[in-house]
Structure formats: C-alpha cells, structure tokens
Symmetry: C2
Subunit: 465 residues, 2 copies
C-alpha cells in the first residue's frame, strides 16, 4: 500500500502544558515512546502521536479527553499495540491514551460468573488472576492483548466457536465519550430489554466513539474434562469438510483450528515440534468426562471418513499449553520462515457452507504467487487468516500481497461473508466497507458524527467521513 | 397510571390519498382496525393510529415511510400486537405499518444453520416450516409473536438460558430507515469485526430507529435427546436456590422456569393439570442421551438437597408440548383466576446471586397487597415476571399495581439489575431509564436524533427527547 499523506495540525503547546500539569511524568513526547505507540503488529505504515498519556483511572482518561476536546486534538486509545489493521496509528497526530497502567481486576463475581476489570488488564493476566477460582475467560486472540483493546476490536480467537466473541462476552462497559462524559453502557443482569444496546455499539468501535476504561465480562467454569488433539489430513479440503460436518452435527467443540502445511512446518521449526507437515486440525473438547468422550467419538468418525490420521492427544495441562501456545505463536512462526520478513496479516469470515470453496480458491491464488504465505483459521466460525511474509523494502511484494488480499476479500464478500472476522477495520480495511455494507456505511457515519461531531476519537478509522 | 394527553396532528388528507394510491385497499382508516392496532396485550392506555397500512414487501414499507416522512407523519411498526409495554400505541397518531402479510420464509440455510424470513413470520410458523429439517429456532416469548417484533423488542423466553435472546440469534436485519432508505445490517458470516454493530443497534430499538422488514436468524439442530420435568419445592427460596446452584455448576440446562403457588393454581385450572400447588420449577434438558442423563443426575441431586419433590417427567413430545404450552399460557391462566380482570405484566432481571433476595422481598410486598398477582420467571437468567390481575375500572388498583411495580424495579436496580429483562421499554418503562442508565440515556437520545431527526419513528417510546 502506498504511503498516504495525512494532514496533521501542530501539537498545541497549551494542550501540552495542561496535560503535563494533570499527569506530570505520565505525559511524554519522547520520540521513541511516541513512535512505539503509533505502530501495531501489522504491515501498516506507523504514525506516531504527538504525545502519549499514561492514564491510571477513568477520571484521568475523562480529564485527558476533555482537554483534547478543548484543543481539538485527536485521541487514540492504546492497550498493548497488538492490533493488525493500523488501529493505533495516529494518522492526524494527537494524544495517545495508553491504558496499560489501568491493570487492576476490580471485582470477581464468582457466584454470577462475571468479573470487572480495568481496560489495561490483559487476557493472560486475567486468567492468571482467576487461577484459583475454577473460572476462566475464554476469548484468546493470538497476542496477550488488553481486554479494553479486545472489546474495542471485537476480538475473538480459538474458543469463539464454543464461547462466542467479545460481542457475546462483554456484559457492560465504562466509556469516556468524546466530550469527556463518562457512561456505563449496562448493568450486570445477563439480559436486558431496557433501551438501545450501547454495549454492543462500543464493542468493535475501535476507539472511534469513545475510550473504554472498564469492562464487566462473562466468565465460565473450567470444564471437568478437557481433551486436545491434533489430526493431519491428506488435503486441505478433507480437513475443511471435517470441520463443516462437525459443526453441522452440533458437536459443541470448544476449539477447531486449521493450519495449512506451510504453517505446520513453521510451528514445527519455531516451537520445536514434530507434527506431520500436512493440512492439520487442532481440536479441543470441553465437558464432563462422558460428554467429552461422546464428542471425541463423533469427531473421530467424521475425520476418519475423510482420511484424517490418528488423533495425537495432548492430555496433561502442560501438553495442552504447549499445543495451544504453538497455535498462538503461528504468526511469529510464519515470519521466522523468512528471516527479516514482515507479516502482512489479513482475515475473512464466510458462512461455513462456503468455507471449503473459499479456502480452495484462495489457496490456488497463493500457489501461483511468488510471496510465501501461511493459512490458519478459526474454521469452526468460517473464519480464516493469511499471513504473507513480505520484504517491506520491496514495493512489488507489498503490491502483490495487497492484490491477493483484495482478491480474497472480494471472494468472501461474494459468498455473503465479511472482510474481517476478527482483526477489525482500522485504516487497513476501510475501503472494503462500502462493498460489504452498502448504504449501511452511511448509518455508521451518522453514528460517528452523532457521538463524535468534531471527529477527534481515533480519526481516520472504520469510516471515511 | 393516569391517562396522559399526547398532542397529535390531524391526519393529512394528502398523505391519505398518496398511501391509498400506493396500497389500495391495504390502507385503511377503519376505526375498528385502527383501534385494534393501537393496543397491545398490556394494561397501557391504547392509542389508535390514524391509518393502518398492510405492507407486503420491503419496497412497500420503504415507500410508506418515504410518504410519511414527506408529510411528517409518525410511523408505528406492528407485528402481532403482543407487546407488553404499550409499544404499538400511536401516541401521536400517524400510520401503523402492519407487516403481518410479510410472512414468507425466504430461504433456509440448513448447512449454515440459518434462515431468512420476512418480519411478519411468527415464531410458531417458522418452527412449523422447519419441522422436517431437523432444525429449530429456540426463542419463545409467551405469545406467538412475529419475528420482526421479537427482534424489535429484544425478546427472549424460556430457552434463553441455553440459547440466548434475540440479541444473540439475529445474524442480520433488513431495515427501512426514517428517510425510506433500505439497509442490510450485516452479512451471513457468524462473526464479523467490520464496523459498528448495526444489527445489535436495531435489535431492541422498538421501531424507534427504523422498520425491520427481514431477518436472518440462527437455527439449531433439534437435540438427540430432550427431557422435561416438573419439580415442586417446599418454599420459593428452595426453588430459587436450586436454580442458582444449577447455573453456577455449569449444567447447560435448556430451560429452568419458576412458577409460584398462585401461578401453579392458575395453570392447573386453565390447562386442566394436577400439579401440586407449591413453588415449582419446570426443567428441560437438551443433549445426547448420555449428556441429558448426566445433567439430570446433577440437577436432581441439587434439587433433592433443597427439598425438591420427585421429578415428574414429560417424556413424549406430546407431554412436553402440554407442559410448555401450560407455561406459555401462564399469563392468560393468571387472568382467568379473576374473571374480568386485566393483566398488568412487568418484569425485571438481576444478577443471579441476588435473585433469591429479590424474589423474596418482592413476594413480601405482594403478600401485603390486596391485589392478586402471580410470579413466573426465566430464573436461569435472573429474570422474573409479575402479573397483577387488576380491575381496570378501579383507579386504586391501578395505582397499587403501579406502586408495587415501582418498588420491584427500584429493588432490581439497587441489585445491579435492569428494569426489564425482556418486555422492553415501550412507553410503560421510559421513566425508569434515567435511574438505570444515568448519563447513558443521553447517548440513546443522540442515537435517536441522529437516525430519526424528525422523531417520526414510533415517537414517545424508549427515550424522552
């Protein structure tokens, strides 16, 4: 993608001084820190903010937003910077609000299976905190992202096929609006018909409508029995057909992940494993002992009929952790296949009836391209990812990745799918939204203008105004 | 509640003529038909629209909305008129758009476990249509409501504890906006991170942001095994404790419904049953045969420890239908306890850890009141309902029901609950929204003004402007 020039106003010294007065050392304009905050884990061109504010409370975030609003400076929320479509890029400069110091678990409601956290708590930190309660939070994007960022990007991960995404697992949010007012989007009841669904409005809004500062999340009991297994297939079609049949048969599989042969090779090398280099499914089953045994029996039969090799089981917690850590490291493993390369990651999601076709056509494209790439997917949801290992100094490679990405998105849209299942829009996928949503993009614009009339909240993301 | 006078403009003869030209006989100003369309199943004062338009397609709805927008006439969508908070009352007159003739199932995606329907299809009609597919749609409010209306009010019902509410089960909507433009809120992918969640914005918006004309819904495979049972308890606390323990233990119970002694007496008489007159739980378990047996064993143990009597099983489809029909008829059964009475129905939802306390305090209020009432609840969600059997000619009874309702809502809010778990806001619960949502009500107003600047879409509902 060619570098795009964005207009940015100079950073107002009055705002700088006011923020310094409020935050002291926790306001910085250090070039190194600003640069780090303008870049996520994607191939997108970084854009450093003018300043980074390390907030420690909702009240501080509100004060920062109010000051920025007064000086009409853009505001970019920042959790761990692990987004994949340029979400944190300060396209028009302004102030990055880093919430990583807001990392307290505020309450655990073991009886209600819920928890309230500050936005900077990461998913691993939360599960570590919950370790002795018998409860866990299932949403697991590859990175150890902040929960605020995960809500903002409507993240999901490997468990979504069973437990849903952030859309289903956020009960309530505390949000600082564009004018600094603080709202709570809902109470703690499991369901409510009391007015517009503000929770879901902010989940997936990528910081463009407000800054998420606290979250109340659903928790789940750790199942009595957990089994994980790896199964290699003769072809990618056989693996995908196994997924489709499993979902259609109603087996409540907890995880069902596809890795193509390139990706298996990559994780073997990166994580020192010895999986057969072939299209492979990673499974996990949750339930009672008998329930898991039933699920396994059904899935083994489906896989066996499609040439799936014997299941290799990871039975101890340690073996399972190793298996899933390898899966979560897939992105880094793919990059390590081509030393010095940068990752160009993209994802789409289609109705499951079209998944085999969508993956097959995409693989054909990839086979004809000189750029190395790997395919992994949360295929139980119809969602899959590509990572291109590109040399960022070669414009031809960037152009080729861009072309392949566009072909895949166009294909997914033609199959009634979406241009992104879980990475989000950022500024990387904005131009696909009109094709996906048509006139509905105008409704998104109406919402953006209503809640952020000055266009200060993470400007230049999701919709063009 | 005292009768409130609403300002209404006279019906414009130009609009009348234009609508007649477009719809012919399917536009009526018949007083009887208008009156029926201004009244739902609640105690709320009816308000007839000036005209009723029977639409047959999305395009017709769009044309009607455009004409109403041109003449600045209010628009009230209407499905089956079974709402419970005055949702269909034409407070400011205008045109009721009745979608009951839009009752086609447009496609069944058996492979993707989804279906697309017109807004007038009712839940029973859909399940009848699906009968031979092995699939079903689980959301079941008491009435045989239209699916458009169910989405508009974010309905749920007895299966929500396992399958979620309309919030979780609508994949995509076709919506006519206030200016007559038609949008589709999402594609058919199971998950998406492509922009603001317009689907969830319209689910629960009660016709105040647009008219829902088509829906794509999730379907589920009919489980291999289904068992339903009835279990009586010595006290309501023992029954509620059984619910709480069941949910906390992670049993994936499909239905768990509480009926108090009055309600059991009512359904015994109304549906000619012989249940023991005592606080009672109705259960249903879905799964494989072994899975259901496991669930039953756990729940029986929990119930037994709390004095639950033997489970009375409904094993055949016919027995189960009878059991659940009785549950669905609870409202009508309660009214039949006091011939000539009118129902005043209300619901709240609280975190499950507070459910026993909330029900106990509410029952104490009811015991001290002269008005007969019955309590039923989707208690697995923390949601319960009251119906007062009032004589609508007695203002003192209306005032007393209103007082009890307000006490219950205030109690639920103090327990971090919501003023309505599933009935919605309509114009009956508008005044509780500021107490529940605080400053967030202003965000709801911003959304309403952005999408409906002339306040023509079901005006006077959800938020006061």
């Amino acid at each position: 993608m060619a570098a795009v020039a964005y207009l940015r106003e100079p950073f107002d010294p009055g705002l700088h001084e006011a923020l310094r007065r409020r935050l002291g050392d926790r306001l910085t304009t250090s070039a190194a820190i600003c640069e780090r905050h303008g870049q996520d884990e994607s191939y997108h061109q970084p854009h450093a903010p003018d300043a980074v504010a390390f907030a420690q409370s909702t009240e501080e975030v509100a004060d920062i937003v109010k000051l920025c609003a007064r000086y009409k400076a853009p505001i970019i929320p920042f959790g761990t910077g692990t987004s994949l479509e340029g979400h944190v890029a300060a396209l028009k400069g302004g102030v990055c609000i880093d919430v990583s110091q807001m990392n307290r678990v505020l309450r655990v409601g073991a009886e209600d299976l819920d928890v309230t956290v500050e936005a900077g708590v990461t998913r691993k930190q939360l599960n570590e905190y919950l370790r002795d309660t018998g409860l866990f939070f299932p949403i697991d994007p590859g990175a150890d992202a902040s929960l605020g960022g995960m809500a903002a990007t409507r993240a999901s991960g490997t468990n979504a096929v069973r437990y849903g995404t952030m859309r289903e697992n956020v009960l309530s949010l505390t949000v600082v609006l564009a004018d600094g007012r603080v709202i709570r989007t809902a109470r703690r009841a499991r369901k409510s018909a009391a007015g517009y669904d503000l929770t879901r409005l902010f989940v997936g809004s990528e910081g463009t409508l407000g800054v998420i500062t606290e979250l109340t999340l659903r928790l789940y009991g750790i199942p009595e029995a957990i089994s994980a297994a790896v199964c290699a297939f003769p072809t990618i079609e056989a693996a995908v057909d196994t997924v489709i049949l499993t979902i259609q048969s109603g087996v409540p599989v907890a995880r069902i992940e596809l890795l193509d042969d390139t990706q298996i090779d990559a994780i073997n090398k990166y994580s020192k494993l010895d999986n057969k280099v072939a299209p492979t499914l990673f499974f996990e089953f949750h339930g009672t002992k008998a329930g898991v045994a039933e699920q396994v029996a059904i899935v083994k039969e489906i896989a066996g009929e499609r040439g799936g090799s014997d299941f290799r089981w990871a039975t101890t917690q340690e073996e399972r952790n190793k298996l899933w850590q390898a899966r979560h490291d897939a992105y880094y493993a793919a990059l390590a296949l081509r030393p010095g390369s940068q990752g160009w990651a993209t994802d789409v999601c289609v109705p499951i009836s079209r998944l085999a076709e969508c993956i097959a056509e995409t693989k054909r494209d990839l086979a004809q391209s000189p750029i190395p790439s790997a395919l992994v997917g949360h295929v139980g949801d119809g969602n899959f990812h590509l990572v291109f290992m590109i040399d960022p100094k070669q414009p031809a490679e960037i152009a080729e990745a861009s072309r392949l990405n566009e072909r895949m998105v166009t294909r997914a849209l033609a199959m009634e799918g979406t241009c992104t299942g879980e990475h989000g829009v950022g500024y990387g996928k904005m131009d696909f939204l009109p094709a996906e949503h048509g006139e509905a993009v105008e409704v998104m614009r109406m919402l953006k203008r209503a809640l952020d009339p000055e266009n200060l909240m993470n400007p230049g993301k999701i919709v063009r105004l």
